[in-house]
């Protein structure tokens, strides 16, 4: 603790000898350069925000500092000494701690056991329990939380915010001089965010250097002293927060004027008969769902996280089927109690999490693509293979790979080696192979980089053009607005309303928050409600929201950038 306390006694003014110096840090993964010549000098007692789109290199940069990645070129100087970390443990010992979005805590163990894991105080052969707990309480006291977090509490009994504090306490126990926080507020409620800010400010007072990776501009303006903006691995700016506005940050991140790159919406003539009709569908998550999907159209399903969007798709696909209500396909009533029945009825479901629900990662492109087709019974399978006029699976897969513009080394390549965008294309191909006519997409572009997103969007539109009925669940409003021929908005497990193509984000949010139903007088200004709703939305969509920076429709609001970043400067001051 010596270093920290000495820093606290004589807080060094900013501009003093830098604590951390990076010079020419570059890093490539499989010949793709993800970080180019990053140069940084950070004094102690600074909160340094790192912003950029998905894939801009933020995580790589902080992981290099934390020793989880080794730079290909460049040097790192810590407290005047050149360092090179080969393992996070070395960085930890040198005073660099990192808190990932996914906490590194053992949920079945106590707070004290987690903080001092691997460094338990002992007396003889036994763990010195009293000292273990006293040391833990001392750390928690430094963070002013010793009253609310017991050293004996099990991690799984703590809230996410408390778990984060335990992570911070663990970092402190290593005498950290540099603390890196990766999207620390992603799953925190607003008061918890404020409490976290207090702690971060307090750590800054004590002379710690804090790297704060976040896409939430409001937080960055509230907390950071300086900002580094990364774009495609390039350091486009490192500057005082005062010289920037949310607008200018977004412009730096995106680095080009935003333009509408969504494919064109369906023309009225493209839209055909009703393919799928749900009437009065209810189960334990959702109630009274009335929904129609027509051939040739893309219906966007919007709503806040937890409003039942995904559950609607899962109910249609039979994952958690409707308990009451009816489903009609092409005018005929059908029963879908299991995913298998949905596959038989030519319904395809592109799930939210392709890695656990969409693909068998260690199997090949070929195996994955043919999986649903092969589950079909003999007759159906032959019939559908005939549709493709091929008997050989590989020929079929080849065609499909071409249709979805898949970039794989070969069809035998295991899908875990593909990029996110290409993995998603395999999921698409798999449903194309089974000839699905009703396609349910849940967050189709989550975690996919910007360039590949456009490709996925084109594919979806192409499927609709060929006559498929498409339902797209998305938490990215720009995507919903840009892609949908019709927008259905959910709220609290019910359909709150339906909007025409081109509706504004405000319209959607009003429905999603239940404001336009007019249930009782509302004292809050609607705009405030929208802002609050967006914050809530963002909490869940943290991972994706940062990637949406250029998926905005410019006509939606006067200032498109603020919307997907969630906060405009007025909000900060107001």
């Amino acid at each position: 603790m010596s270093r920290v306390t000495s820093a606290a006694e004589s807080p060094r003014p900013a501009g003093d000898e830098p604590l951390l110096k990076l010079a020419g840090i570059s890093k490539s993964f499989r010949e793709v350069e993800v970080l180019r010549d990053v140069v940084l000098e950070c004094p102690p007692g600074e909160v340094h925000a790192i912003v950029g789109e998905n894939g801009a290199g933020k995580s790589t940069l902080v992981k290099v500092v934390a020793g989880a990645h080794q730079p290909d070129r460049g040097t790192m100087t810590l407290d005047g000494r050149a360092v090179s970390f080969h393992h996070p443990r070395q960085a930890q010992a040198a005073g660099v701690s990192i808190i990932y979005q996914e906490f590194n805590l053992l949920t079945d163990r106590t707070v004290a056991q987690n903080i001092f894991l691997g460094r338990e105080p002992t007396r003889g052969p036994l763990i010195d329990r009293r000292r273990l707990e006293e040391d833990t309480v001392a750390l928690l006291e430094q963070l002013n939380v010793s009253g609310s977090i017991s050293p004996r509490a099990k991690i799984s009994d703590l809230s996410v915010a408390q778990q984060q504090i335990v992570e911070i306490a663990k970092a402190l126990s290593f005498d950290a001089q540099i603390l890196i926080m990766d999207e620390p507020t992603a799953s925190l409620a607003p008061p918890e965010v404020e409490a976290l800010f207090e702690i971060v400010r307090q750590l800054r007072e004590r002379g710690m250097l804090i790297f704060y990776v976040s896409h939430r501009l409001k937080e960055i303006f509230a907390l950071a002293d300086r900002v580094t903006v990364l774009k495609d691995g390039d350091q486009v700016a490192t500057t005082d927060i005062g010289s920037l506005t949310p607008d200018s940050i977004v412009r730096l991140m995106v680095g080009r004027e935003l333009s509408d790159y969504f494919p064109e919406l369906a023309a009225p003539d493209d839209i055909g008969e009703v393919r799928l009709r749900v009437r009065g569908g209810s189960n334990q998550h959702i109630s009274d769902i009335d929904l129609e999907l027509r051939a040739g159209e893309i219906v966007g399903l919007a709503g806040l996280e937890g409003s039942g969007r995904t559950e609607v798709a899962e109910a249609i696909f039979g994952v958690e089927p409707f308990e009451t209500g009816t489903i009609e396909l092409d005018g005929e009533q059908v029963s879908i109690r299991r995913p298998r029945q949905a596959v038989d009825h030519r319904i395809g479901f592109v799930t939210e999490d392709r890695k656990t629900q969409g693909l068998v990662l260690p199997r090949s492109v070929l195996e994955n693509t043919l999986l649903p087709l092969r589950t079909l019974s003999g007759h159906d399978r032959r019939e559908r293979e005939a549709v493709h006029e091929v008997a050989e699976g590989s020929t079929l897969t080849m065609q499909l790979a071409e249709r979805v513009d898949l970039r794989a080394a070969s069809l035998d390549q295991e899908v875990r080696f593909l990029s996110g965008g290409n993995q998603q294309k395999v999921v698409f191909a798999k449903w194309l192979a089974s000839d699905a006519w009703v396609l349910l997409f849940d967050e189709p572009t989550r975690g996919i980089d910007v360039g590949a997103k456009a490709g996925i969007h084109d594919l979806m539109r192409g499927l609709a053009k060929r006559g498929a009925a498409v339902l797209m669940v998305s938490s990215e409003l720009p995507e919903v607005i840009g892609m949908s021929d019709r927008i259905v908005v959910m709220s609290h497990g019910r359909i709150a309303g339906e909007l025409e193509a081109g509706a504004s984000e405000a319209d959607i949010m009003l429905l999603a928050t239940g404001q336009s139903n007019g249930d009782g007088p509302d004292v809050r200004h609607p705009a405030e409600e929208v802002a609050a709703a967006k914050t809530a939305q963002e909490d869940q969509a943290a991972e994706t929201a940062e990637a949406t920076a250029d998926s905005e429709l410019s006509e939606v609001t006067s200032n498109p950038h603020d919307d997907q970043m969630g906060h405009d400067p007025g909000e900060v001051s107001g």
Binding site: L105, L106, D108, Q113, L126, I127, V137, G147, S148, L158
Partner: protein
Amino acid sequence: MSSPPQERTANPARSLLAKFDLTDMQSGVWLVLLAVMAVGWILAGPNFVGGGNLTNIAVRAVPLGIVAMGQTLVILGGSLDLSVAYLISVVAVLSAFVMDGDPANIPLAIAVGLAVGVGVGLVNGLLVTKGRANPLIATLGTGLVMKGLLSSRFAAQTGSAPREFQLLGYGRVWGFMPLSILLLLAVFAIAWWLTRGTRFGSHLYAVGGSKEIARLSGVRDDRVIIGAHVWCSLTAAMTGLFLVARLGAGAPWIGPDGIYDLESIAAVVVGGTALLGGRGGVPGTLAGALLLAVLDNMFNALQVDGFLKSVLRGVIIIAAVASYALRSKRKDVDIA
């Protein structure tokens, strides 16, 4: 510290109560044990829960209980040991051979037995960690190697245990307490101390919970796993020695015939330890081993047919484990 107690603070009274929460598998198995004994009382009469029979049951649980104390630690660390059954036979045969009826050879025989245990444990641990072999396959392999050695050298009962050594199996202290039960309790106490009191135990839970987190925290995960395997093989060696004391000789079939590999895993899992590691503990395993012994004893008292007995045991094991899984699932839902 003087701030008002808040909800999140662990309240000692509440946590004690929580320890007897049915959803906690560790205590759940003790309740199941009581329930099964109540059933035995009803079906087999009051003698079933009399002191004599209870002692019988406990003695019956000793060999399995000892090796299950080892298996628990291995499983807590996220590994598994299938070699214990053949190791028990090897130790039994070797120690009986060394003793050869002469009390003077007892210390040497015990030393040889335990040394073999340490050796096999080291091999298992090294294969699983440094050799990166799947524990299931690695320990199955060492078990098969030992099986081969046994059948090439020993076909029948070997050696004999002197009367003094057989005291371990049949002796009593204070006139009523079988020495064998004390042996089991001693092994239990050591296992409990290892898991709850030492850094080794703390690291074992951590490695079983998440090897990556443990490693990033500076835990030398390989050493922890090797240690658990050595302890497990030591307990198997002790079971082998105990069986020699019981049988008066070593036989190559006593390990596999007792199905100590699978039964020890069953006792651990019935005792509420997660098969994937990181959660559970030896008290549950003790109850699990006792439960299996109670069932055996009850079936014998009721003269249940041997095949049916096996089926019933299987059903009860599955029911116990499934009920834990369902309960903990419901608990998750409640929390969410």
